[in-house]
Symmetry: C2
Subunit: 446 residues, 2 copies
């Protein structure tokens, strides 16, 4: 069997295009209704996707006027979807800056048990002062500090998830001995950011712990990914950039002493599909026509950390923007946007049009064959182990992808045709179940 | 229609009796498996219970040897049950001492939306140093301080849940206006324990916010309940004690300016059912025979804050125990246990036997008629608005209750015979949907 593609359905509102909610087919309340997500999850399972993914930030973004705001909290929503689906992985975003390791480790372990080993965690450090101010801080912690805290958070969480050996439960009714206390390992952690004394109050879960996913592409983000991540989401605009990112991440992972095959790289793609190329472009244009450009200017000014009113819709970006080093927010996204505008000499209006669909992810308009070709090219040319599929409009964009692109990928032998026997999310991604760091058992001879 | 009983199924492990896991029928892994809870939830829905309830503490209790340890995190588990049930309320315990208001408010709002208005929060302050040490503290905060933090936590959470007015979403596609920013009210809270600036990122939920439940019976606990709680769980050993508690809580609630009908008091009862009284007592004895008394001594010493080795199995409690004031842990449970032992002159062994079933809740062994009589007596004699049903063995004890006691309660007109149309949890408990504190709308004339 040839190497298999990994597909992750990135679900967001009525679609990743910011104007998608204005289309006649869209329900403006959909993103805060369970049924919308149940339907999407079922479509993704029909398409034998590896996983579903929900992004997150603990703050209300921007204004309500401009587009759907608010969301269902991802861990909660994905837990509800666990009982409405059978095979698909469930990847929830949660912040290391605004959670406690004990609470978060419990929730992921519980979801992993409840879903039969389908939980994944998109580990983020959360940029922005808005989030910080909801958690007692005046301003966001510095980028490097957020990543330092993230690393300690992971070390503690990994200890908690391993704090029960797999065979700690004995269940000897006759003797009245339920478990073996020698197989419990309290972390007794005291560090710069956390002290956590006791063992987790959840047994080790089917996967050992959730699939660890990461989505920051800055220098610190990549270093973190090389050390901990098993899958990486990334926004890449061109094949050469994606190849460079892929090669860099694999070699950093090897340098960190890990198997580079054990980190899967998934760039995002916003497929806009038409039965002809012209129809696909017309679909793209129909979405762009619904953009409210003044709102786009506000958001771009925030991302670029410019004062309000600095950008002109029909001008270009200022030439004296600061270097990525000076940005404390989302570093890699900043660089991507600035480079995109410069490379293609886009006006602010054109840039907003380009970002409206995928916020920096690759938007690809074409026929189902062309979309499959693009996916295959990146997959076989060292740019991707799979994709974050980010439909511009939901649910229709996911339905179209599953009905029209998935069969082509299957026919080419790139994508499974069915799930087969029950597997964990980590098994689907072709990754081994992690050993327990405290385990005293000899590894089995194979 | 006569006043209606409210029934809450308190689900714990393979039952509330500490030795229940040792019975032949019990699965020692059940408490960490989803299927166990799905089955229990469905039985409780057959019995037209108002709600399910899960207790919680963010620490691993005691040793594994003695009895089933660990649990699925309650908010996670109840969210999974939301999609496996249709009518029943879902009451999750969460701690105000070890959570952030923004995170917790989001999760409950999300569960309330996902379940169609069935979420409830058992608000606890969490006694014990073990929990504190999992969250960066050396020792548990003092009792009064825990309750002061709880009150501020509630004030912030209530602001967050009201931060979207009910009609904040406009959804005007033609104008490109999704929501009305004038209907968003950031808390801008700065207090002794929390500062929380921004609005919640979840719209106002079907119930406005989860049903607020409280379970501490100390002086501080009652004051807190009178101010915030809509339902109160309590452990009461005798009818006069329960009547006194009931009257006290209702009058405190009235004194706090609230309708005393808007706080429902639910004592716990552990029904041990047999077809004759003798059979019921034999069932109780069979459970007691499985108790490992040395473990019971350890736990009792902890509760009473005595040094290890102070208690003799066949002696009585020391006469010089400290007053409740000196206890920083679970104050009201301490007093209940001490009074029970003194009133009935129990040896330590007998006390452990009595606590083995319900940890201080009323254990009642009898025929289905006798159990129904006891419930009716407390319900009609000013001791209860309903009950926390705490089966000694699960699932069988809940099944027996639903098959044998529920029909009697229904025949007496005390309990609904079916759910009827979809209702929120708060409607089931006969409570009004709370108004939004920021709402600018005139109240509707009715
Ligand atoms: C597909 C994808 C999804 C992301 N999802 C989130 C998210 O849900 N929450 C978040 O705070 N950041 C998210 N990010 C952003 C990164 O996690 C990170 O915060 C951002 O890229 C800045 O990190 P960097 O400075 O290391 O580049 C996402 C990035 C990508 C590529
Ligand atoms: C039915 C019932 C359930 C309870 N559940 C919990 C719980 O899940 N977690 C917890 O920390 N305390 C729980 N408690 C204990 C109280 O919330 C409280 O912590 C304890 O009684 C001490 O409070 P007090 O000092 O105000 O009496 C429960 C009490 C009762 C009566």
């Amino acid at each position: 069997m040839p190497r298999q593609l990994h597909l992750n359905a990135f679900l967001m509102n009525t679609g990743h295009h910011e104007a998608s909610w204005r289309l006649p087919e869209s329900d403006p309340y959909a993103h805060v209704e369970l049924d919308h997500y149940v339907r999407l999850a079922q479509v993704a399972e029909r398409g034998t996707f590896d996983s579903l993914f929900l992004a997150d930030g603990p703050q209300l973004w921007g204004t309500l006027a401009q587009r759907p705001a608010g969301a269902l909290e991802p861990l909660t929503l994905l837990t509800a979807l666990a009982t409405a689906t059978e095979h698909i992985g469930l990847i929830a975003t949660a912040s290391t800056s605004y959670n406690s390791p004990y609470n978060l480790a419990r929730k992921f372990a519980s979801l992993d048990i409840i879903s039969g080993g389908r939980a994944g965690w998109n580990i983020v450090t959360t940029a922005g002062a808005e989030a910080a101010r909801n958690f007692g801080l005046d301003a966001e912690p510095a980028h490097a500090e957020r990543y330092a805290r993230a690393a300690e958070f992971l070390d503690v969480a990994l200890k908690l998830w391993d704090s029960w050996e797999d065979d700690a439960i004995v269940g000897d009714k006759a003797a009245g001995v339920w478990g073996d206390d020698a197989k419990i390992h309290p972390p007794r952690h005291k560090g710069a950011y956390f002290s956590v004394e006791g063992a987790l109050n959840v047994p080790r879960s089917p996967q050992g712990y959730p699939l660890l996913v990461q989505a920051g592409s800055s220098e610190d983000g990549r270093a973190f990914a090389a050390r901990y991540a098993e899958a990486v989401f990334t926004a890449q605009q061109t094949l050469p950039d994606a190849q460079a990112f892929y090669a860099d991440l694999k070699s950093r992972t090897a340098a960190a002493g890990r198997d580079p095959g054990h980190i899967k790289v998934l760039p995002g793609i916003v497929p806009v599909i038409g039965s002809t190329e012209a129809e696909a472009r017309a679909n793209e244009q129909a979405l762009e026509d619904h953009i409210v450009y003044t709102h786009g200017v506000d958001r771009l000014e925030r991302l670029l950390q410019l004062p309000e009113g600095s950008l002109e819709l029909d001008g270009e970006l200022p030439t004296d923007l600061p270097p990525e080093d000076a940005i404390e927010g989302a570093k890699s996204r900043y660089t991507l946007v600035v480079e995109l505008a410069r490379r293609e000499r886009l006006t602010v209006r054109q840039l907003i049009g380009r970002l409206g669909g995928g916020r920096g992810h690759l938007t690809f308009a074409g026929t189902p064959e062309q979309v499959a070709d693009a996916i295959e090219e990146w997959f076989t040319q060292g740019a991707a182990d799979g994709f974050n599929i980010m439909p511009a409009v939901l649910p229709s964009g996911l339905e179209t992808f599953v009905e029209q692109v998935v069969p082509i990928l299957r026919a080419r032998g790139l994508l499974r045709t069915e799930y087969g026997s029950r597997q964990t999310l980590r098994e689907r991604y072709g990754l081994p179940r992690p050993a327990n760091q405290y385990s005293t058992q000899e590894p089995a001879l194979v």
